[in-house]
Every structure is written in C-alpha cells, then in structure tokens.
C-alpha cells in the first residue's frame, strides 16, 4: 500500500468529517426528551421533527437576521429572536403542529407529537 496515498486519503476523509461537523446533528441524548430546531439560512432545520408527548422543543436562531416561531393555530409564539437566542415550548398533547416565522413567512416547519 502506498503510504503517501493513504495519508492523502485520510486527509480527505478528515476534511469531509470537518465539513460535516458544521451541519447540526442532534445527539441521541438530545432527542430523548428535548428536540432542537435551528433557524439557519432562512430555514427551520430539521423539519418535521417527531417527539413524544411531554417533550420540550427548543428553537435557536443561527442567522444574523431575527426570526420568530409562531404556531399556525396560535398555540405558541416566540418574540423576535435575535442571533443565538432561543425559544422553547413543551408539547403535552399528541398531534401535528405547524409553525412559521412571522418575519419570513416562507420559513415553515412541523412538530409531530406522538
């Protein structure tokens, strides 16, 4: 085996992993009873998310522009979230909950509570 070539390959693999690290991936512990959704590049990610009844979902704004989280039914509404600010809501009842950013209504997402 060509060692130099293997080193190059490892470097490339390392770069791919580093690149992937920029994408938010919730850990297993986080998905157990709390779910995190980010607002980034004018999108809610991930969406839809599925949680168990009683779970708390936390939205965090990672853009340089404020966002809000507003339930389509009026069940919950954050204020304007500046960069790095968060909003949480505890879902007690099973159902499908759609939400929108009222500043950028094209940003939509869904929480499914089982």
């Amino acid at each position: 085996v060509n060692i130099r070539r293997m080193q190059m390959l490892l470097t490339v693999v390392g770069m791919v992993i580093l690149g992937a690290a920029e994408v938010y991936v919730p850990s297993a512990a986080e998905t157990a009873d709390a779910t995190k959704i980010v607002a980034k590049d004018f999108m809610f990610m991930p969406t839809p998310v599925t949680v168990k009844a009683g779970s708390t979902v936390t939205w965090t704004n990672m853009d340089n522009e404020p966002h809000t989280v507003v339930s389509d039914t009026g069940l919950f509404k954050s204020g304007g979230m500046d960069t790095s600010e968060s909003f949480s809501y505890k879902f007690d009842k099973p159902g499908t909950y759609h939400f929108t950013c009222s500043i950028h209504p094209r940003m939509v997402g869904t929480v499914v509570v089982e």
Partner: protein, 315 residues
C-alpha cells in the same frame, strides 16, 4: 436619483453624484410623483430652478432598525442621526415625514424609545408611520401601537389629506400566511374602497405600506399577496404613488398612472433579490455603507402640478 432627466441640470446632476444616494425626495409634477435627489432639494429656493425642482412635500424614511448592532452597521442610531441632519438641513423643510416601517429591529420598548428620541430632533414635526414586521414581533403586538397607533385607532391603516394630495397608510405585516407574502386582508381593502369612493380621479394619491405592494421577489416574501385587489381600487386615479420599504434598496416601476418605489434603509443594505440564502443584512466595506443608506423625498411641483421623487444617500 431622478429618472426625469429634464429636471436634472448639469449642476444638480453633479450635486447628486457628490451626495451619492441619503434619501428620496418626491415631487408631485403634473400629478405624477417623480423622485428627485435630496441633494437637489437642499438647493430648493424661490429661484426659477428652485421652483422647477418643487417644494419638498414629504420625506420618506424607512427601515431604521433601531436595536440592530451586527457588523453590517454597528451604529444604526448614528446613521439615523445623519439622516435626520440631512433632512433638517434642507433649505425648505418638508411638510411631513413618512416612515415606512421597521422602526425597530426587535420591537423592544427600549428600541422604540430610542427611535422616538432620535425622531424628536426632526424640524418637521408631523410624522406618519406604518409598522414593519420587525415592529410587531412582541408577543402582544402592543409596543408599536402604544406609541404610533392613535392615528389609525390601533388598526394600522388610515388616510389623511395634505396640500391636495390624499395619503393612505396601510398595514401588510400582520395577517401573514405561512409560506406567503404580506397580506392586507379583505377588511382593509374594503376600507380603502370606501375611503376612495367619491374622490375625484384627479386627486393625487400616495399609498404607503412597509412591504412592497407589488411582487418584487416572491421567494423572499418581497410582495403582498392581495395587492392586486388594492391596486384595482386605485386604477381610475390619474396619479398614484406607491411607496414601500422592507427591501433596503431602491426598486422602481411605473405602470400606467402608478409609480411604485421602494426606499433605501437608513440602517443596513440587503442583497439583490435572490443573491444568497435570504435577505440578511449585507456587510459592505465601511467606506461604502453610507452610499447604500438613505431616504426618499417627494416634492410638489406646481407648474405643471406634479410630484417628484428623489433618492438621497448619506454619502
């Protein structure tokens, strides 16, 4: 800067270039609003040339975003102060100031308080406002209305007359639909129809709202979904000027007797439609920022009677 080349003497053209882009001044000329540069408005006097430029009717200030502090402009209070200085230095003060929304960045009481403190320095004291979506993000949507709601009895829309011009202030940032554009709503459109009923078609009309009342770029929500119903109520009038903010840059369109114009922000620029993931604050080199911020002013030109619009930058 004016599209009406006939209004631009070489001297004024040079003045325009010197001042770059701080706001837009509008003049009503032959019943049609035409933008003229604030730098020109500053030169208004009773001379023949001054009269051609028109008497400043109002200045449009937009998207002041008090509370914003990111790198695209760490000092939005400073650039608003500069804007106010430019307006205050106009040799003939405009009768009115119109603010087309996003007074604040996050609808916080302290942001509104600072904005009002800064506005209090304007020599022109009559100010009309409509809210932007950044002004209505507080949970109860009360901070804006507690301060600016009296003119509309907290409905957000109202009309008034000044110098023979009929002004209509509209709100299109509340009844948003998921995935959609700004919305006026049936109730507000019905109110406009009633408000215009019986008015002479020769009455110059100025309509102002925060989000554009024409679709500039749907994927970013740069438009109002039910604006066509509004515009159909306005078509019979000989001079309609539609003024908006929201997109932090000048976009203009003339369609029949209607002139559509969006003003610059006094806070930070935004990208051109569709450039990048969304309408984020655009960071530009510090020495270029002021040329991208500004206001719009509108002048009343008597012979022929018309409105002229004018955009002026801070630098």
């Amino acid at each position: 800067m004016s599209d009406d080349k006939s209004m631009l003497s070489r001297r004024n053209a040079l003045k325009c270039m010197a001042y770059g882009g701080a706001g837009t001044l509008f003049a009503l000329s032959g019943g049609v609003f035409t933008p003229i540069d604030l730098a020109m408005a500053r030169g208004y006097d009773e001379s023949k040339e001054g009269r051609v430029l028109g008497r400043p009717l109002f200045v449009q200030i937009s998207d002041t975003h008090i509370g914003f502090n990111k790198e695209a402009n760490p000092d939005v209070a400073g650039t608003l102060t500069q804007t106010i200085d430019i307006v205050n230095r106009m040799s003939v003060q405009p009768a009115l100031i119109i603010h087309t929304g996003d007074i604040t960045h996050l609808s916080k009481p302290a942001e509104f308080d600072l904005a009002q403190q800064l506005f209090s320095r304007l020599r022109t004291t009559e100010m009309h406002t409509v809210p932007g979506e950044h002004d209505t993000t507080d949970a109860t949507v009360t901070e804006y209305f507690n301060r600016f709601g009296s003119a509309s009895k907290n409905k957000g829309y109202y009309s008034f007359d000044h110098a023979g011009v009929h002004f209509i202030a509209l709100i299109n940032v509340l009844q948003f639909k998921p995935g959609g554009l700004g919305t006026l709503g049936a109730e507000q459109i019905a109110w406009v129809a009633a408000d215009l009923k019986g008015r002479s078609a020769s009455t110059p009309i100025v309509v102002f709202a925060h989000m554009p009342l024409w679709t500039i770029y749907e994927p970013w929500g740069w438009g109002t979904g039910d604006a066509d119903q509004l515009l159909s109520e306005l078509r019979r009038f000989g001079s309609v000027t539609v003024l908006n903010g929201h997109i932090h840059q000048i976009v203009q369109k003339v369609e029949g007797n209607m002139t559509f114009h969006t003003a610059r922000s006094t806070s930070y620029p935004q990208p051109l439609a569709g450039v990048g993931p969304g309408p984020s604050p655009l960071k530009v080199p510090a020495d270029q920022l002021q040329a991208l911020l500004g206001i719009t002013s509108v002048s009343l030109v008597k012979h022929p009677s018309s409105l002229a619009l004018n955009d002026t930058a801070l630098a």
